[in-house]
């Protein structure tokens, strides 16, 4: 490797994480740097691709991956960690813990006696004017006086080498999950170095979080159920919610999964309501309860606040803690800390002026070109602006705006960011980029515990001065070095699980998840059926050698509503495959499949999810304009294979809990409906007398190979029908599926004490009695053969209809309460 520093600019006036003022590599960076220097470009490339692969495989995203219309943004992670040496860490962690203690005490005062305001230490404007100061929470005292369970702070390093606080996150701090995920990935890219440098582990932090929530949850002697409340999959950090829920072992729920009865929170599961003792929320506090807080919130849990007030549930962070997320507070904290604790703050915060005091406003207006002007409250429709970016006229407008309501504005000095090296795979070198750090503290038994690590965010551009994941920046793992080997941090293995604690089923499966598993199953099969039929048509269209078979397949497609009726055949085929406006198109069904899957992502293994993402990606990449039919045929072949893989995952990869049962019932009902309605339509057509028609019917029923190996003959009506209709060994035969559905449903209905389905067993009897001999020697010739076929078609149509009704009843019985939407009422 050529000298990595040759093309690494040492700019003056900023702090370099890698280099000291003389341009020499800093001591705590030396090991890592030497390793980089020793590596060949190929080795680093290999590490880099290992990293990229893991991000892709783990499905780490910032936006939502699965939303076909949303922007898929894979998580950006730099190969090189940000490194913090032990002394610096000691200072940082003491400062962060102190700050967390202070902010917790401020919350306790604001939702209690409000002495800080009456004593003049904190402006009423900053508190009562803040949309996240929730009056209905006034007077609520949370367990242990803990308002702030999880706290995050944003830090920037000034040229003097000191870290400065730029913002506090007290509402529902995000990013700790990404920090954990970053660690898992980067530590594997440098396994030896990671061990040799004695990098401190992150697991203890998350264990403390679990312990705190479990300890503070009002459990009334029950073992506490903690859930993670997410606003849902459209949130930009939904991946993190999923990831944290898995790591912490908490069910991931949405507002609609919870209900409050008699001031107690319950999770709606298939087997009834289960009490929830603690909620770790990732939902903004004013959205949490449409009864008492924001009445326009559709995401919250009506009555949650009263449950909190009655001490029946723990919410972390406490509702109302968002009030501290205002840059206006920064300047008041040092005095408050003196007042409350008699201490200096260990970490300085960036120079900030709240404009609510007339002399301060005057000063800020004078220095406008050098300052960053920010809104004091998140509800304001005002984005931060740099005074220097404004014209004279714009500055005048801004000043007028600030004078009209001075307390809503905050002036801040520009944060100066330090530069850290990032690895650039394209040109095989390191380059400096501005970084900021987000660090976390969690409330422990006696004090706050700080995460020895964090989320380091990297500016997107070489000259950028702002770091923000929303603006397309990347991230870094954060390595805190220690003097002795970190030990005793085996997080997952900590709790001893005895025989008594063994769990054989997931008792906390939300009904919503079960419903989506059911639809996931149905859409898998629906896509499979539709793909097979389209493949039959497309292959015959491309070959062009059997117009009659093509014609009969098209007729079936029409009767099954899998082919639009208008237009020329090529256009119709294209619409059936990729049509965005035709709601029965294969692509639309794939999207529904993906939607259902994304709702149940927590239940799918990584491989399973990966297969789905791949499937979706391919479907979206297909060109609608100037489609190539050969390419489309190839896609259908791969699609059928991928769907088979999903079916394999369902059978072999998933735990057979309640959710799985519903998934399988969904699959079976859909297949039964597809097979029986296809066969019914087929039997009514002339294709029954056409060998080519029978051939494609075998293909549709995925039974060509079985047929050939059994009969070594061309397709004929009676053996084909035997195989696709009555063969109880063939999973693509109607009778096989019918019996399976009847059996599965009986067991399910027994388990849930639901009324028996009588129609299905009856159909089993009728279909089993069907004698193929009536097709062999029709007593009255052609006419009676047609009559026999029509009678069979009627029976099959009945099977299809009944399976549709069964599905509706099932949904009504088990998921109806999921659909019930709560609505708000108001009267004057």
């Amino acid at each position: 490797m050529p000298d990595l520093l040759d093309r690494y600019p040492l700019t003056t006036g900023t702090y370099h994480e890698l280099l000291d003022d003389s341009g020499a590599v800093r001591t705590h960076w030396r090991r890592l740097f030497d390793q980089l220097q020793r590596s060949t470009p190929a080795q680093l490339l290999q590490r880099q691709s290992l990293l990229a692969r893991q991000i892709q495989e783990n499905g780490v995203t910032y936006n939502v991956y699965a939303d076909p219309k949303g922007a898929d943004r894979p998580w950006e992670l730099d190969l090189l960690p940000h490194v913090i040496e032990p002394q610096e860490w000691k200072h940082l962690s003491a400062g962060i813990a102190q700050r967390a203690r202070l902010l917790n005490a401020v919350l306790a005062d604001l939702y209690g006696p409000q002495r800080l305001i009456s004593e003049g230490l904190l402006p009423a404007e900053l508190v009562f004017g803040h949309n996240n100061f929730l009056w209905p929470c006034q007077g609520i005292a949370p367990p242990d006086g803990s308002f702030l369970h999880l706290y995050a702070v944003d830090l920037a390093r000034a040229p003097d080498g000191r870290w400065w606080v730029t913002a506090d996150r007290t509402q529902a701090p995000s990013g700790a999950g990404y920090a954990l995920e970053n660690r898992m990935i980067v530590s594997r890219a440098f396994p030896d170095l990671y061990r040799d440098l004695k990098v401190r582990h992150l697991s203890g932090f998350f264990r403390t979080l679990q312990e705190t929530l479990a300890r503070q949850a009002p459990s009334d002697g029950e073992s506490p159920l903690v859930v993670l409340l997410t606003p849902g999959r459209f949130n930009e950090s939904y991946f993190e919610h999923l990831y944290l829920a898995r790591q912490l072992g908490y069910p991931l729920v949405e507002g609609g999964d919870l209900t409050v009865r008699d001031a107690t929170v319950y999770l709606k599961t298939l087997s009834g309501l289960r009490r929830v003792h603690a909620i770790m929320r990732r939902l903004d506090d004013d959205f949490c309860d449409p009864l008492e807080l924001r009445t326009d919130s559709a995401l919250g849990v009506p009555g949650l606040l009263e449950a909190v007030r009655q001490g029946r549930v723990l919410v972390a962070n406490a509702l109302g803690s968002g009030v501290l997320e205002s840059p206006g507070l920064l300047g008041f904290l040092p005095k408050i800390n003196q007042y409350l604790f008699g201490e200096e703050l260990l970490l300085p915060s960036i120079a900030t002026w709240w404009c609510g005091e007339p002399p301060v406003l005057a000063q800020a207006l004078e220095k406008l070109p050098q300052l960053l002007i920010k809104p004091a409250f998140p509800s304001q429709s005002f984005s931060p602006v740099f005074g220097r970016d404004l014209s004279e006229a714009q500055r005048g407008q801004l000043a007028a705006r600030m004078q009209a309501r001075p307390y809503a504005y905050v002036a801040q000095e520009l944060a100066q960011l330090s530069q850290a090296p990032v690895w650039q795979a394209e040109d095989g070198q390191i380059q400096p980029r501005a970084i900021g750090m987000r660090m976390y503290a969690v409330s422990g038994k006696d004090d706050y515990r700080v995460l020895p690590g964090g989320l380091t965010r990297v500016a997107a551009e070489a000259d950028a001065e702002v770091v923000s994941m929303q603006r397309g920046g990347a991230s870094k793992d954060t390595w805190v070095l220690s003097e002795q080997a970190p030990g005793g941090e085996q997080w997952k293995a900590q709790r001893t699980v005895g025989v008594h604690d063994l769990v054989r089923r997931d008792p906390y499966l939300p009904s919503r998840v079960v419903e989506n598993l059911f639809w996931f199953g149905r859409y898998c099969e629906r896509c499979d059926g539709s793909a097979r039929l389209l493949r039959i048509m497309l292959a015959r269209y491309v070959d062009g050698d059997d117009p009659q078979a093509l014609q009969s397949a098209v007729a079936l497609g029409e009767s099954l509503m899998l082919l639009p009726e208008e237009g020329e055949l090529p256009e119709r085929l294209l619409a059936a495959l990729l049509g965005d406006d035709w709601s029965f198109s294969l692509r639309s069904n794939l999207q529904r499949l993906q939607w259902a899957a994304s709702q149940v992502r927590g239940k799918l293994s990584r491989e399973n999810w990966q297969a789905l993402v791949e499937l979706q990606r391919e479907a979206m990449e297909l060109e609608t304009e100037e489609a190539d039919f050969g390419e489309l045929l190839d896609f259908l072949n791969r699609l059928v294979m991928s769907l088979a893989a999903l079916s394999g995952f369902a059978l072999d990869d998933m735990t057979r809990d309640e959710g799985w049962r519903f998934l399988m019932i969904g699959r079976r009902l859909e297949r039964l409906q597809f097979l029986s309605s296809s066969l019914a339509a087929f039997l009514r057509s002339d294709a029954v007398f056409d060998q080519a028609g029978l051939e494609w019917l075998l293909e549709l029923g995925n039974s060509s190979i079985t047929y050939r190996s059994r009969y070594l003959a061309v397709a004929q009506l009676i053996p084909v029908l035997d195989l696709l209709l009555l063969d109880e060994q063939n999973p693509h035969a109607v009778l096989f599926q019918l019996k399976l559905v009847a059996r599965t449903l009986k067991r399910l209905n027994d388990d849930f004490a639901a009324p028996k389905e009588t129609a299905l067993p009856e159909l089993v009897v009728r279909l089993s009695r069907f004698d193929l001999r009536c097709l062999e020697n029709p007593l009255f010739g052609e006419a009676s053969l047609r009559a026999a076929l029509d009678g069979l078609a009627d029976l099959l149509q009945e099977v299809a209809d009944v399976s549709g009704q069964v599905s509706d009843r099932l949904a009504l019985r088990h998921f109806a309460h999921v659909d019930d939407v709560s609505q708000r009422t108001v009267s004057v």
């Binding site: 404007e125 009445t295 309460h817 108001v826």
Partner: protein
Amino acid sequence: MNAHYQILHDTHYHYDSPVSLAQQLAHLWPRACDWQRCTEQQLLISPEPTTRRDELDVFGNPLTRLAFERPHDELLVNARLSVEVLARPELDFNLSPAWESTCNALTYTGRPLAAPLLEACRYRFESPYVHLKRSFVEFSESCFPPGRPLMVGVRALMEKIFEEFTFDAEATQVATPLVEVLERRRGVCQDFAHLMLACVRSRGLAARYVSGYLLTQPPPGQPRLIGADASHAWVSVYCPVLGWVDFDPTNNVQPALEHITLAWGRDFSDVSPLRGVILGGGAHDPEVRVTVMPLES
């Protein structure tokens, strides 16, 4: 001279489909204040709520929490009140300080804040229905020339709203944004109260929303009709010298013996008479009947 009233406030929800779960918050009991006594109060509720809790909300108003956990097709909440309203002292508005100095007294200076001022600060800022905009400052500009005593300015504002706005029950709904009310120059008592709050608060002053009832007179020669009245709303503005003073912009009067106070808060959302969240229910429209009957004392 005192006035006695009997008040009936009936709310009736008839749901299209059964409601399986409902939680309601009722602000239907009058709060105690210096100029008003409630001598009798009853809340009749059907169906019987699964739970009922009576307490004071954070603004000091009586609040009834109701939960219904059994399916029901309708909900009836009938309040029956007997209230005595006492005369309030005459105030000389010229005694109130200049509006700017009131604003300064409420502004943060780093000095300790006396309890009444701290209390007033609760009502100085944006709230769910009252967003603060420059247009409200501009609208009220003529009422607040420099140096004018606060309450004289507020009275001028009340008159201005009364004169320039048309009462129109069809013009607005609960959620009509204030800027729209300002633009269209029409609305109902709630809109006028919110508008007046926005004008006062946009100038850095403190004002709260008062919900209650108003005695109305039947047309001459006709009997008083049961249920012909409605709930009413007005505002109260804080003055460091005179205390909280009520203004009714809908009628251009200072509430006295004919206004019955129910509750106050930052705006309608804090004190709406009955609001809730229901599961199921389909379409529904509440039928509300209010009757204010003067009693001979």
